[in-house]
């Protein structure tokens, strides 16, 4: 009994370590990627290829004074960055990296991840409200409408996948997609759904992930050319650092979910490649998705708030509902 408990604790610590490491080094990857896109070197001074940049940045941020603006709500002001980082890290506990590597599998894993994802939106509201800054306030109002608008199509799309798999267990969903690339949920011909519109569902889910994580082109919460820095205008020191890392942890979670729900998790794309460990395939898919995130961010300008809401309410929600109904019908027929 105590051994299993120890195992769980070690696994959880490893999961959290993975999340924190990713959050720190994705900042580096993003800066290098942006530099590559913009034909400049990027951070390359500290350590080989600038690899020491994230820890040094962390030290610098921690050494700075945490200033709390006068009139700010102190409790919420301090709680907000913690709330940004904590749900993202907690979600890692239930993510399966391969059929054996998972900290704690749950049969309602999806539910837990979405519950924590909703908490992320709360941190933006707390930060914006407690800062006593008009820009931060406007940003948090935007963040709420954005979170509401994009969680709905995201959940509907997820329900489509859950219906196909017949389970909310992430392991089970991945097992259902084993075989080859054609069995993945994104290519539904040999899978369970027979729904040729699944690639569209994948795109909807991916778009919602972009919006949920406040990434460009949907980074209206921190639109730096309008709202200075949005909800974290008043944050310095590690408060800012936590927001920053929380954003990247959320990206990793979003990409993990996309990989699990649509890209077959740890399954190899072709059957004869399955001698390579599953965790390799999982990480490969994960980092390809993250690279796409970075690529999109440095290519597109920002949308407007009404463009963003129109996209969700008028296009994504009807489409995802339609796909849900179609999938339900097809499952009944086949």
């Amino acid at each position: 009994m105590s051994l299993t408990l120890l195992n769980v604790i070690i696994a959880v610590v490893i999961a959290i370590g993975f999340a924190a490491l990713n959050a720190a080094y994705l900042v580096w990857a993003e800066r290098r990627g942006a530099a590559r896109i913009q034909r400049r070197p990027g951070p390359n001074i500290n350590g080989p290829w600038g690899l020491l940049q994230p820890p040094l940045d962390g030290i610098k941020l921690m050494a700075k004074q945490l200033t709390i603006p006068g009139g700010a709500d102190k409790v919420l002001f301090i709680a907000a960055p913690v709330l940004a980082m904590f749900p993202a890290i907690m979600s890692f506990v239930t993510i399966p990296f391969s059929d054996t590597i998972v900290a704690k599998n749950m049969n309602v894993g999806i539910l837990m991840i979405f519950a924590f994802a909703s908490m992320g939106g709360m941190s933006l509201v707390f930060a914006g409200w407690s800062s006593r800054n008009k820009y931060a306030m406007m940003s948090s109002v935007r963040a709420v409408s954005q979170a509401v608008a994009y969680e709905i199509p995201m959940l509907i799309t997820t329900i489509t996948v859950v219906m196909i798999a017949g389970s909310m267990d992430l392991m089970e969903i991945v097992h259902q997609q084993s075989g080859s690339i054609l069995h993945w949920n994104i290519f539904p011909l040999l899978g369970n759904s027979h729904n040729i519109l699944m690639p569209m569902s994948f795109l909807i889910f991916f778009t919602c992930t972009l919006a949920e994580t406040n990434r460009a082109p949907f980074d209206l919460g921190e639109a730096e050319s309008e709202l200075v820095a949005g909800f974290h205008t008043e944050y310095g020191s590690m408060g800012f650092g936590l927001f920053f890392m929380g954003e990247y942890a959320n990206i990793v979670i979003g990409s993990c979910m996309t990989t699990i729900l649509f890209l077959g998790g740890w399954n190899a794309p072709l059957p004869f490649l399955s001698f390579i460990p599953g965790v390799f395939w999982f990480l490969l898919k994960l980092y390809i998705l993250i690279a796409t995130f970075i690529w999109i961010r440095w290519t597109f300008p920002r949308t407007t708030i009404y463009g963003l809401l129109n996209l969700s309410w008028k296009i994504l929600i009807p489409l995802s509902l339609f796909n849900l109904l179609l999938t339900a019908g097809l499952i009944k027929v086949f």
Partner: protein
């Protein structure tokens, strides 16, 4: 999207944008009365970087004032110097050798391209796209290197002299300029592919901030602001000066009146400037670059003189009232951005803040030039 909304007087709050705000590109302050994300009223507050250039014009002698002009607009500095030297030459009757005129035109057009490139990058950055700025700056770097080689400085040039230029162009500059033109054309094609065709970019600009031609006339707007609203006015064509009548170039005019039209005008202007540079390099005559005989002390006879030039920001007017002294009695600088900016107060009412700041980007404001 931007239909005016019913306003209750007690539902508004004041948002102070600037003087240090990422979108105002300098120290412009806009006091906005907001209703949620909608702007009810906006008031631009200027003067944070006022340096008394006009007063300096009155106390400094004519040659001493040469360097002040390039401190007005640090992005397209040569256009302003051009206006000043043309005015003083006209006032005191100094003959300018033809080679000097051509060199000036080439330099001013190169500077215009560099200024528009910077605007292009900063404008797309206002809309949230960061990478085009880096591409634009890299192209601009070629121009700055070329100008540095001849004029000795990169931004605040003091290159034009009364009667000519300070330094002759060498073969190195000419070959560099010839190499630059096809490269710049290729870059422009790339920008159109990367930015102009982007769906988000177009959606954010099409139909946003319509400026009627009447409004442009009322505020005295010029440059792309007026030409994007269908007003065909370019000082180079309408009140030709220097050697511009010798060049074959078009004035791009768009009639859509929106932010995208203003963007299109500037992008097209870059191409036209390249055409002028090309022709200027072909026609560049041999000869002196400073006049043979020039008065040692510049003392324009008493009178009232005016000269307008088309700078990168629009029509720049400079008026000189001389009493025959070493220094002018009055030197009035009519800066184009000043007029363009004041459109903002009226035009942004009822707009959302993000559209308003995109609109502000399309006006191409350079704050030191407003405040002078």
């Amino acid at each position: 999207m931007n239909s005016p909304i019913e306003l209750q007087p007690d539902e508004t709050f004041i948002l102070n944008v600037g003087p240090q705000h990422p979108a105002t590109h300098g120290v412009l302050r806009v006091k906005m009365e907001m209703n949620g994300e909608y702007i009810v009223n906006a008031e631009t507050v200027i003067g944070y970087i006022h340096r008394m250039h006009e007063k300096m014009g009155e106390v400094k002698t004519y040659p001493q004032f040469l360097m002040n002009l390039s401190r007005m607009d640090y992005l397209g500095a040569l256009g302003y110097s051009h206006g000043h030297v043309l005015l003083v030459e006209k006032a005191s009757g100094i003959e300018v050798p033809e080679r000097a005129e051509y060199i000036r035109a080439i330099m001013v057009e190169l500077n215009r391209v560099s200024s528009h490139l910077f605007w292009f990058g900063a404008f797309v950055m206002d809309l949230g796209g960061f990478s085009p700025l880096m591409y634009a700056l890299q192209d601009r770097e070629h121009i700055l290197d070329m100008l540095e080689g001849v004029t000795g400085s990169r931004l605040t040039y003091c290159y034009f002299r009364f009667g000519g230029v300070y330094n002759d162009v060498d073969d190195e500059f000419i070959s560099a300029a010839r190499r630059f033109i096809p490269r710049m054309r290729k870059s422009l094609k790339k920008y159109h592919k990367l930015v102009t065709g982007n769906i988000i970019f177009r959606k954010r600009l099409e139909g946003i901030a319509p400026l009627t031609p009447e409004m442009c006339r009322k505020y005295g707007a010029s440059s792309a602001v007026a030409r994007g609203s269908g007003i065909n006015f370019d000082v180079r064509k309408n009140e030709p000066y220097s050697v511009y009548p010798e060049f074959d170039f078009d004035v791009p005019v768009f009639h859509e009146c929106d932010s995208l039209a203003r963007y299109n005008v500037r992008m097209e202007e870059m191409e036209q400037s390249l055409r002028i540079i090309e022709q200027g390099l072909d026609k560049l005559p041999d000869g002196p670059f400073m006049p043979e005989k020039k008065p040692k002390l510049i003392k324009p006879p008493a009178g009232d003189y005016y000269q307008a030039v088309e700078t990168a920001r629009g029509s720049f007017g400079i008026r000189l009232v001389s009493e025959g002294d070493k220094t002018p009695y009055r030197l009035k600088l009519r800066s184009p951005t000043y007029s363009n900016m004041h459109l903002f107060d009226e035009a942004c009412r009822g707009m959302m803040i993000m559209d308003a700041l995109a609109f502000m980007g399309s006006l191409d404001l350079v704050i030191p030039e407003i405040d002078r």
